[in-house]
């Protein structure tokens, strides 16, 4: 075997393990979102990903032994991944961790740590395969790193494809089996004896796959998730299930204690609700499918909810329902004799459930002659469709979050941003209405953000007096906001008042409202909504700044509609947590901060640990420069990647396209870039880090300049063409982003260290880079919440500039 070139099968093993690891990360997000909640999944995975950094630290400590025992360590790492990927998750399910008790019970933190620890191992083993190979074949770092990135690219795309057709636990079996296949590749490639182990390893792969896919194991949902709660009721049973990359849909029927879902239903005399089925997405986000046999009379309850308000002002409207879900808003439009209904639903499985699986029950609702269903993301659908509507209706579908399945998406949503509202308003007919219904939270938070966003959107459209264009009506638990591009007429206001009076609702705002009207039937401690509406309409900055939650409107650059936390309120909220105030604390945000703190501490440990023992020969290079360089390129890559994913979500509409295209495209081209380093240096011996950094800077600026123009001019073209255009934009950038790692390794580390210290240095640099990427992902989310995605992108570029400065004078590395 050539001592400096890895065999092809070993490169294949590296690619397979990287593929499996990235697929496992995405799958874990799915699995943990099902058994727990999405934001806890994000936190847990962020910590577990430190396995990447840990692999470098451990191997750095091993030094030359990592090279000496390369074959054994490589096989152990591949098999270690296989066993811990499957076993780690199954064991983690046994830990009785209840995130809802984190603020009550300190023991839950220990359980959370146990979950992290169990899930960290697969990442550690997978990353070890790459790191070991980098250290062993240090002349081919570009090629190996390229295989790592290309493998990850295939993993990102492949797992989404697998989730389309298989249940998550089956996919887990498949990924675990990849570990065994990688081990077989290594065994064969390194010509290890006995050769008979190769079929044995392949048999193991098959065994693992069938064990996981055979149905012997199942997902244990938290008993506090809405699905678990629904199933605990006497008579409840699961009657249908569909799995896809957007979520696991579970249909529940209960004939003994029927589901009765009618958000905000009036307290007055209501007709009996027709039978309903509950559809849960990932055990949460319930949507109701209502029995419909063509008779409108049983649907009378749909006229007694705040969301029925727009139908009092419109006759036979052309309606666009954003977020069809189980079809309640579509039924409401049918009940009010809408002329035509376009309904948009993100998850095709939801449409199949309503229209086919339970088509007889729902009356094949989406196939109704007046209904046209579209599988699309809401904002993207409106942007790419030039059709105009009398009513655009957005119901209570929080699960209809653009980035619900996003890798790094902590509740980003482009549905309720200022730019989003402007897009909706621009698609209304003259006199048309935008109607948005939200759940009420006491004290109000995102409801006020929405109101403020509508005002900003109208102002940006040149509407000088938004106060005449808004009506806000609430029950005790839902609130409906009407926005009209033209002022509401006195007749319309009269109809609204009658609607409010006959159904026992309260006005929060309408043109000409008197303060005394705002808090009569469903009384709040104060007329919060009215007060806020008046203050926001009067541009009272003091109100916004002194309100104890962040109610500044969400924008496309800061698409955090659900984020309302203010640091200035933390002291007060924290002191009130055991005095009835625990629900006021935005624990999601604090968890993100807590995660970052843990990541910083643990990363510091992982980076410092290999420097302590004297046995490790780490003295020969300037530690600060190595640390700074590999940390900077780790941060730079992840910041640019996260910001671009978010920017492309708006262009590609469908979040899965965006994640798959941007992530896969960037990793793939970065892999090609990395793999080409040797070739490039042969042809251009003057190739330095500055070339790469300068190209990255220019290409990012070019991409973000072109993207808004592309969004405007090509919104209506086919999705396939959009993907091609996106890849054309991303490819050169990603190619250049693949260069700094192998350049740093070859020009900085390998060429300036002695042979016996190289393994330690390479592993340490790998650890630093891994820790930076993981910490950077969480830091990027926090920065985006406060300062916006453009700032994150800018910081990413600054990190690359810093890297350029650190590597530009390699004599300082000697």
């Amino acid at each position: 075997m050539d001592r400096t070139t890895p065999p092809l099968t070993v490169l294949l093993a590296v690619a397979l393990m990287s593929m499996a690891a990235l697929a496992y990360e995405i799958l874990l997000m799915r699995l943990l979102s099902i058994v727990q909640w999405h934001h806890f999944a994000y936190v847990i995975i962020s910590l577990a990903l430190l396995g990447y950094g840990a692999s470098g630290s451990v191997l750095s400590l091993m030094g030359q032994r990592a090279r000496t025992h390369y074959p054994v360590l490589l096989i152990v790492s591949c098999l270690g991944f296989a066993i811990t990927a499957a076993g780690g998750f199954l064991l983690a399910q046994k830990v009785s961790f209840n995130p809802l008790e984190l603020l009550w019970d300190p023991n839950q933190w220990l359980r959370l740590a146990a979950v992290y620890t169990l899930l960290l191992w697969p990442f550690l083993f997978a990353a070890s395969v790459v790191c070991l190979t980098l250290a062993r074949f240090d002349r081919k770092i570009g090629l190996i790193y390229g295989c790592d990135l290309i493998g990850a690219a295939v993993g990102a795309l492949g797992v989404i494809g697998l989730l389309e057709y298989f249940f998550p636990l089956t996919v887990l079996g498949f990924l675990a089996a990849l570990g065994c296949i990688a081990a077989a590749c290594v065994w064969f490639g390194l010509a290890l004896k006995p050769i008979g182990f190769v079929p044995l390893l392949l048999l193991m792969a098959g065994g693992l796959f069938f064990a996981m896919a055979g149905g012997s194991f199942e997902l244990h949902l938290s008993p506090y998730k809405p699905l678990s709660q629904a199933l605990s009721a006497s008579g409840a049973r699961v009657v249908g299930e569909r799995s896809g990359p957007l979520g696991l849909l579970t249909v529940v029927e209960n004939q003994k204690i029927p589901l009765r879902h009618a958000p905000g239903l009036s307290l007055g005399r209501n007709a009996r609700l027709p039978p309903q089925l509950a559809v849960f997405t990932d055990g949460d986000g319930m949507s109701a499918v209502t029995r419909f046999d063509g008779e409108l009379k049983p649907l009378a309850f749909l006229d007694r909810m705040p969301s029925a308000l727009p139908y009092q002002l419109l006759h036979h409207p052309k309606v666009l329902v954003l977020g069809a879900g189980g079809g309640m808003d579509v039924l409401q439009a049918l009940y009010h004799r809408a002329d035509s209904i376009d309904a948009v639903e993100l998850d095709p499985n939801m449409i199949t459930v309503v229209n086919e699986d339970f088509g007889d029950f729902s009356g094949h609702l989406f196939a109704n002659s007046r209904v046209e269903i579209h599988v699309a993301e809401a904002r993207g659908y409106v942007a790419s469709n030039r059709k105009r509507y009398d009513l655009i209706q957005m119901g209570l579908l929080d699960a209809f979050n653009t980035a619900a399945s996003g890798l790094h998406a902590l509740n980003e949503t482009y549905l309720y941003t200022v730019e989003g509202i402007r897009t909706y308003l621009s698609r209304l007919t003259p006199g048309g209405l935008l109607a948005i219904t939200r759940w009420i939270r006491i004290p109000p938070r995102e409801e006020l953000k929405l109101f403020a966003a509508c005002i900003k959107a109208m102002e940006s459209m040149g509407i000088k007096n938004p106060r005449s264009h808004l009506i806000w009506v609430r029950s005790w638990n839902t609130i409906t906001l009407l926005v009209k591009a033209r002022p509401f007429t006195p007749n319309e206001i009269g109809s609204v008042r009658q609607f409010i009076r006959t159904r026992g609702f309260d006005p929060a705002y309408y043109p000409g409202i008197s303060p005394g009207e705002a808090n009569r039937r469903h009384r709040l401690p104060q007329p919060y909504y009215y007060q806020a509406a008046v203050a926001i309409l009067n541009a009272d900055r003091g109100f916004t700044s002194s309100y104890k939650f962040d109610i500044t409107p969400a924008t496309d650059d800061r698409p955090y509609f659900f984020h309302s936390f203010k640091w200035s309120s933390l002291d007060e909220l924290w002191s009130l947590r055991i005095h009835g105030g625990i629900a006021l604390i935005d624990s999601t945000y604090l968890l993100l901060v807590g995660t970052l703190v843990q990541l910083v501490i643990l990363s510091a440990l992982l980076i410092i640990l290999p420097l302590i023992p004297k046995a490790v020969h780490l003295q020969s290079l300037p530690r600060g420069r190595v640390l700074g360089y590999f940390f900077a390129i780790g941060i730079g890559f992840i910041f640019v990647e996260i910001a671009l994913i978010q920017k492309f979500i708006l262009y590609l509409s469908y979040p899965l396209y965006a994640i798959a295209v941007v992530l896969t495209g960037m990793l793939l081209w970065a892999g090609v870039g990395s793999g080409s380093v040797e070739l490039l240096r042969n042809h251009f011996p003057a190739l330095t880090i500055w070339w790469a950094v300068a190209a990255i800077l220019c290409l990012v600026v070019a991409d973000v300049t072109i993207l808004p123009w592309l969004i405007d001019t090509t919104a209506a073209i086919s999705a396939g063409l959009k993907i091609v255009l996106s890849l054309m934009l991303l490819a050169p950038l990603a190619f250049c982003m693949g260069l700094p790692f192998p350049l740093g390794m070859s020009q900085g580390v390998v060429s300036n260290t002695k042979e016996e210290a190289q393994a330690s240095w390479i592993s340490w640099a790998w650890a630093v880079n891994g820790c930076a990427s993981v910490t950077g992902a969480v830091l990027a989310s926090l920065l985006a919440i406060h300062l916006g995605l453009t700032f994150v992108l800018g910081m990413g570029l600054a990190a690359y500039l810093l890297a350029g400065l650190l590597l530009s004078r390699t004599e300082h590395w000697q």
């Binding site: 204690i257 307290l267 109100f543 007060e572 009130l576 005095h579 625990i582 629900a583």
Partner: protein
């Protein structure tokens, strides 16, 4: 299995008489905490102390016998606790507040929708003539029924079933407690509320009570709601 373990715990409940007394000081300390929370939230709830009768009931009912054995040491902490089946026993302060909001009188007949562990029903039973309680989770309902009987709460009648339609045979009620908010307030429950009666519903998830919804029916039968924050929090600072 879990049910069996609980039954084993429930059977010798009568033997807990002395142990119950051992928790008396814990209950008194807990009551002090509840009073403190009431004082803090007085501007929000309009009451700086629970009704003395409610306080007495809280001192009498052995909360530790309504929580699973593994959480018994936490029974008198002012926090919600898991009781199995994805359900919780509410934070004692919230129980006190909800009970107080019902304004219970000795001749009252109360309906509870969502028996849970039976603790809320037990507290109410010390204050009113009769409590009817309905639970939709069969296992939980059976356990609560046995527990309430064993502990001598004879003026509580429990059954398994759908709380949406209330309990028509014993309606109308002076007060109704619904332990978890649904997407809407069931009309049959409103109908079964006496004129002048009150219904209390906690809004929020398990472990997190966001607000309390008080449904009031006046003497003319007109229904209004009031949403109360169970916490001393004003969303605006003093400038506004």
């Amino acid at each position: 299995m879990k049910s069996l373990l609980w039954l084993i715990v429930l059977l010798p409940l009568h033997a807990f008489g002395n142990e119950t007394d051992a928790y008396q000081s814990d209950r008194e300390r807990l009551l002090e905490e509840i009073r403190h929370d009431f004082r803090l939230t007085a501007p929000m709830i309009g009451n700086d102390r629970p009704d003395p009768k409610v306080e007495k009931a809280l001192l009498e009912v052995p909360r530790h016998l309504f929580v699973p054995p593994e959480n018994r040491s936490l029974a008198y902490h002012n926090r919600p606790l898991p009781i199995g089946y994805g359900q919780t026993i509410s934070q004692p302060y919230i129980v006190a507040l909800m009970t107080d909001l019902l304004n219970p009188r000795p001749d009252d007949v109360i309906l509870e929708v969502g028996t849970g562990s039976g603790y809320q029903a037990a507290v109410l039973s010390r204050l009113v003539k009769h409590v009817y309680t309905i639970e939709i989770i069969e296992s939980l309902a059976k356990l609560a029924k046995v527990r309430l009987e064993k502990l001598g709460y004879h003026n509580v009648t429990a059954r398994i079933g759908d709380g949406y339609y209330g309990w028509k045979e014993h309606a109308p009620f002076d007060g109704i407690i619904v332990t978890a908010a649904a997407s809407h307030i069931p009309q049959p429950l409103v109908d079964q509320l006496k004129p002048g009666g009150r219904m209390v519903i906690p809004v929020g998830g398990q472990f997190l009570t966001q607000s309390l919804l008080l449904v009031e029916k006046n003497d003319q039968g007109k229904v209004t709601t009031r949403q109360l924050l169970p916490v001393a929090f004003v969303p605006l600072t003093g400038k506004h």
